[in-house]
Symmetry: C3
Subunit: 276 residues, 3 copies
């Protein structure tokens, strides 16, 4: 074992920080493979918010080493007929309910490029953990299905064993708002608010590539406006509204040294426009 590359498993859930459900999942993982490296991405995804979960996975997981196993549990349909899927995107491996959580990651791929051999329905009950006499819990598939399956994959289980192929048409997507460019204007919206209160939009660095950064450009959010697009928050004085291209290559609005969310009283869904 000592020379093999360690296997990393990450967890992204809406269980809440400090939830004992996270501890139980870690126990279930380590019971199968005590050598795993487990990394928490976030347990603060808003409850049942598949959209925010999809963004979190899209922003955080591509930074991990190739082959990392990412488990995502934002799962309002747990215990119903919704599937659990295994998928691979950009050399990262995912186990998640088939409810749209992987939409952003799948949308990064070329259309039609998803190999059905590497998108499976995790339906092989032999791999599940019958922790209760009555079988797996119907309220906690994270502990009883996703964790033991991920741990078995970490030990070399062939993905062919997971269950049948899932076609791209079986793969559930959620609608995601996209920013639109019309002439010298880009219309987008706030899609995420980070813990600093920064407002992260769906306007991409790519869309802004030929947009001037100087005082000819105006960024509006609700009825607030700021002039220019900057590279760093601290290029403007404290308490100023500033537009920057953030670390995820999206336009974001921040109040320097304070919370734009609170100061502007806005949130996810608020319209943002860039005009020049």
């Amino acid at each position: 074992m000592s020379d093999t590359k360690p296997v990393i498993v990450t967890l992204t859930t809406d269980f809440g920080v400090g939830s004992r459900y996270v501890g139980a999942m870690k126990g279930a993982l380590l019971s199968v493979n005590p050598r795993l490296t487990i990394v928490d991405i976030s347990h603060s995804v808003p409850h049942q918010d598949i959209h925010q979960g999809a963004i979190t996975l899209d922003e955080a997981t591509p930074h991990f080493p190739a082959g990392t196993l990412h488990i995502a549990v934002i799962d309002p349909g747990v215990g119903t007929s919704r599937q659990i899927l295994y998928a691979e995107f950009a050399n990262q491996r995912y186990i998640a309910p088939n409810n749209g959580l992987l939409t952003c990651l799948a949308d990064r791929e070329e259309p039609g490029s998803i190999d059905p051999a590497i998108m499976r329905n995790v339906a092989n009950e032999q791999l599940w953990s019958g922790h209760r006499e009555a079988g797996v819990s119907l309220t906690f598939h994270g502990r009883d299905i996703m964790a033991p399956v991920a741990a078995q994959l970490s030990l070399g289980l062939d993905i062919l064993e997971l269950g049948p192929e899932l076609n791209e048409t079986d793969f559930v997507r959620i609608p995601l708002p996209e920013a639109v460019r019309v002439g010298q204007k880009i219309e987008g919206e706030v899609v995420e608010v980070d813990s600093f209160g920064n407002l992260i939009t769906n306007i991409t660095a790519e869309q802004l590539a030929d947009v001037p950064r100087d005082e000819s450009v105006r960024v509006r959010c609700d009825d607030h406006e700021t002039i220019g697009i900057f590279n760093a928050y601290a290029e403007q004085p404290p308490m100023t509204l500033v537009a920057v291209v953030g670390s995820g290559d999206k336009l974001e609005l921040a109040i320097v040294d304070d919370s734009a969310k609170i100061m502007l009283g806005v949130g996810v869904g608020t319209a943002v426009t860039v005009a020049w």
Copy 2:
């Protein structure tokens, strides 16, 4: 070292998420054994709440591999004459103040089955960390006693070195409310509220074994009532009060896609009855 099984140490405390006290304990553990795998179960146990700590340990720790060392620090009596104990239940190892934190775990055992050889008073000061010239801190035994002792155990220290045996009569228990069945009625109460706002009761799956699950059964919580017992939250429509047998084999009450705690305005201690 590379072929030995990794030793896992878990932490359950009321220090609060993000408390630097957690970081200090991890440093103290790793200073003795840098190869430890440290897992956070929860640092969000309500301050000084031994009852909630006992439930958390009971629900989360049995999922870990045999031999895992679990440290629990909910310790209002720190620095007084209360003992620190080492105990083993179901192949899991525990270090905790002797204040009732291990009550639920001990209650799972057969009466009289606890071997005093594996319940010790951690009184051997040679094993403590004299981090200060004046000796161990009297306000932080987690860092100065429990962490170094656990780390030494992980390196193979014999439990006979920890200190004298503790008899079962020395073992401190807290009173825990038990649900009672009278005829065709079970009377219990809410004993825990999870981060989703689900109300977890002390009514067990075992007590419900021969209770019908159909519309003949009524579950009351405070002055709210729901009909039937389900297996999954999503078997009922959003915003409905639903009773399910949860992942810890206890009856729980949930509002589908919302917080029962907030919607019903109830919490730990609220009476719950099942009648049919």
Copy 3:
């Protein structure tokens, strides 16, 4: 690899618990060295609060094994000309913005004792992660500079490669209030409030060494007063204001089994005096 000592990297940030930015940093670390042991110290440092970050680092990091790499990201000046520094104090290694975060740790050293060879400006862009085509993000140096540099150090990178020496005069300090003794009185202040609501002051155990602990000593905080200095919280009855010498060898004020912060309505900066 299996016989080498594992390298531990700790993280202290103001990103907020559950921030996906923490996950991204861990991915960036593990992508360079998948064998790292990553430990979270705190992600709850108040946003942009360099002073609280400095205290957290000073209290938690000295407990780690020698050679541990500590990354600290409380970085309001990210993307501007502020430097990123590498420094060593008491056999611990640090990577942080040069903005005062390491003040407390540096102040523990003998004046003039800091070897400029082990304080470097992390300016060698070859070591940075050009995650974007445009180079490193100007809003997230934690992910794109500090994490990859730390991971490369963990693999044996020579600190001479990091960048030029930093003199002690280049090292940024923040002013820290010190308690003053005048006759039979010590005047200090609250410098930190922990998650229990305990008020931690800048009055040190050393300053209290010859101060009586009996009823002749009076501790004042705002317009509240308590008599005597104790060793453990539980030496006084519940709901009592008590002064103890805490686990960091500083005087602290606590309400037994409750929050002194809330009960007294005070916080960081409130004056505390000891008189006898």
